[in-house]
């Protein structure tokens, strides 16, 4: 394609380059952009760890203060007319904000710090709470890392699809097929060809064991993250004697068992054998 000059197909090459540029910006693995970012991250990693350490310390202090306030508000909040859930929202927002701040300081450094924190045992009066928060933090870090890995695979699929498209176009040209002249119809044809290439590349990747594993790992990490969030939320709901999903599950389970027993008894009364 690069050798084509003024033969009416330059716009196709330009389109392919445009797509490649977008993928580069999205951080295709091995691209110059990523390598540069990795070097910059390595240069400043010690500063970042220190910075994150400070942030974590601040977050920890805020967290402990939060629980102190929580205890006070538990006694006085309802009387003051404040929504009991408001405080829970504040806590979650604070945690999310802390995480976002830490994440922006550098993914790699954050991960190192999370690894360190996750290996420390929980102790003291707030042992149970801090353990729940720690597990949530670990789950989020794991999820983010896997999401990045999967995103990189998808970016590679798109990049390979462009390469396949490029060689198809070249092949057509070599076979003497008419050079496409610019027009919406031709653009659409190019688009359809790109979709075909994309699906072909993706089908190969999607059936591969590493992809199946990675996608499932991300799914499992998302489940752990959600479960961790549920633990935190349920703890909060219990503080206010509000029903939780776990309690509802328990009720539904009991109802199901009762229903089965009633059906068995009814069948026995009718003298039937259950089929």
């Amino acid at each position: 394609m690069t050798e084509s000059k003024n033969d009416g197909s330059d716009w196709i090459q330009a389109w392919i380059e445009q797509q490649r540029e977008q993928l580069r910006r999205a951080g295709l693995p091995g691209s110059g952009a990523e390598a540069g970012a990795a070097k910059a991250a390595a240069d400043t990693i010690s500063d970042q760890v220190r910075d994150i350490g400070m942030r974590w310390l601040e977050a920890g202090q805020a967290y402990l203060q939060g629980w102190q306030q929580f205890a006070q508000r538990s006694a006085a909040g309802t009387a003051a007319g404040e929504s009991p859930l408001k405080f829970g929202e504040d806590m979650l927002n604070a945690w999310q904000g802390t995480w976002a701040g830490a994440a922006s300081a550098g993914e790699g450094a954050t991960r190192q710090f999370v690894d360190l924190i996750s290996r420390l045992p929980s102790i003291g009066l707030l042992r149970e709470q801090s353990e729940a928060w720690r597990e949530l933090m670990t789950a989020q870090a794991e999820y983010q890392q896997l999401e990045q890995e999967l995103r990189a695979v998808w970016t590679k699929v798109q990049s390979d699809a462009l390469s396949m498209l490029e060689s198809l176009i070249r092949e057509r040209k070599q076979n003497g097929e008419a050079n496409p002249t610019p027009g919406a119809g031709e653009y659409r044809e190019l688009y359809n060809l790109w979709v075909d290439c994309g699906e072909k590349v993706f089908a190969q990747v999607a059936h591969s064991e590493p992809y199946c594993k990675l996608q499932a790992q991300l799914g499992n990490a998302a489940i752990r993250l959600r479960a961790g969030q549920q633990v935190i939320l349920e703890r909060l709901l219990k503080q206010y004697d509000l029903p939780t999903r776990s309690e509802l599950n328990s009720v539904h389970k009991q109802m199901r068992e009762l229903r089965e027993r009633v059906a068995t008894l009814e069948a026995q009364l009718r003298g039937e054998e259950l089929t």
């Binding site: 330059d10 716009w11 330009a14 699809a161 027009g183 653009y187 688009y191 994309g198 999607a206 089929t275």
Partner: protein
């Protein structure tokens, strides 16, 4: 790439032209109204929890001597809604069957909610389905009826037929997975490493939206992008009729109108059928009773689609070797998982095949 790169100005022009046409298509799309689904008259005749059994009103134009005496009960999948079988007047398997003298009943599983998260395979196969079959038997006065299972509903129908063989006269399976471990089965490969126990523990029911995202990601370029670009282009074509847009919107409604899956049922189906392939291996038990497909001795018609990307033909075809029926037929439809219900060729081919096959076995 900058403005002096060869082809850049042409690309800008052609992209602009393309986008203009897309915008015109969008304007046409914005004028579209709501679409209705379902076209054949039906009556709700039985319900239990969220399950409803419907009876379609027989076609009055069919002479009594041409009617198939034994009714057909359609057991649809839990994923998506059963109105796919009767989407619109010119795309309706049910309408086609009624016009050929078949008496049609259909199970609508409803939309499970949080209270249904412990509904299990046992509930569907040994409670709801038998109750619906028995109701149809009583209502029609037929000791045995015909059962037509669709996709996952076909797998459940096979279980039912193995557990209650004496209540069926004929069994039809459509795009039904039997062997979940064939090489083409992408959904199985994707689910192999998923911790389904943890998934259901965390989510309760499994949302229809999550499943839709999964199905769309099987062919991400086509299903997330190309089909919408195609639509906008079609709308821009003066030869395109208004029906094209309505048909598209109706399909979109069906595709994304997905009930949540009862958590326990989903967990069991994914574990026992998809991951462990127990239906095919003969190791499945439901409510403590073994599901032995060899107990299926009634006539069976197995219909599959050659281009099915959800249930590949290789997943449906092994059925013949797993049952003991001496009257086993297959029908291969040239099309996909959805096309078998809504494509133009399917409208004549599939009802003709089913009604003819049933009629031949209705006389004996």
């Amino acid at each position: 790439m900058n403005d002096s790169t060869p082809g850049t100005s042409e690309l800008a022009a052609v992209t602009g032209d393309f986008m203009r046409r897309m915008s015109q298509g969008l304007a046409a799309l914005a004028n579209a109204g709501e679409v209705a689904v379902g076209c054949s008259a039906k009556d709700a005749i039985y319900s239990e929890d969220k399950v409803t059994l419907y009876h379609y009103r027989p076609s009055e134009v069919v002479a009594p001597e041409l009617r198939v005496r034994t009714p057909v009960l359609i057991c649809y999948a839990l994923v998506n809604r059963p109105y796919m079988m009767d989407l619109q007047t010119d795309r309706s398997l049910i309408r086609g069957l009624l016009q050929r003298g078949v008496d049609v009943y259909l199970i609508d599983w409803g939309y499970p909610d949080g209270a249904d998260r412990y509904l299990a395979l046992e509930d569907y196969v040994t409670r709801y389905l038998p109750h619906c079959v028995d109701f149809v038997r009583r209502a029609s006065g037929c000791e045995q009826i015909n059962l037509l299972g669709v996709c996952q509903g076909g797998s459940m129908s096979l279980c039912y037929a193995a557990l209650y063989p004496q209540r069926l006269r004929n069994l039809i399976t459509m795009v039904t997975p039997v062997d979940f471990h064939t090489p083409e089965n992408l959904l199985t490969k994707w689910s192999r490493h998923v911790d389904v126990d943890a998934l259901v523990a965390a989510t309760g029911n499994v949302s229809g939206e999550a499943l839709n995202a999964l199905f769309v990601s099987l062919m991400p370029f086509r299903l997330n992008s190309q089909k919408y670009v195609d639509l906008l282009h079609q709308l821009n074509d003066p030869n395109t009729s208004g029906a094209t847009l309505e048909n598209f919107l109706r399909m979109e409604k069906w595709i994304f109108d997905s009930p949540d899956q009862a958590g326990e049922m989903f967990r069991q189906f994914l574990t026992l059928f998809v991951k462990q392939n127990r239906l095919k291996e003969g190791t499945l038990t439901i409510g403590g009773r073994p599901v032995d497909l060899k107990r299926i001795a009634v006539p069976v018609l197995n219909i599959y689609a050659t281009q099915d990307h959800l249930v590949p033909p290789s997943s449906s075809k092994p059925l013949g070797q797993l049952i003991s029926s001496s009257d086993y037929s297959t029908h291969e439809f040239r099309g996909g998982h959805i096309g078998i219900y809504v494509s133009g060729t399917a409208q004549r081919e599939i009802p003709d095949k089913i009604a003819g096959w049933l009629r031949e076995r209705d006389q004996s």
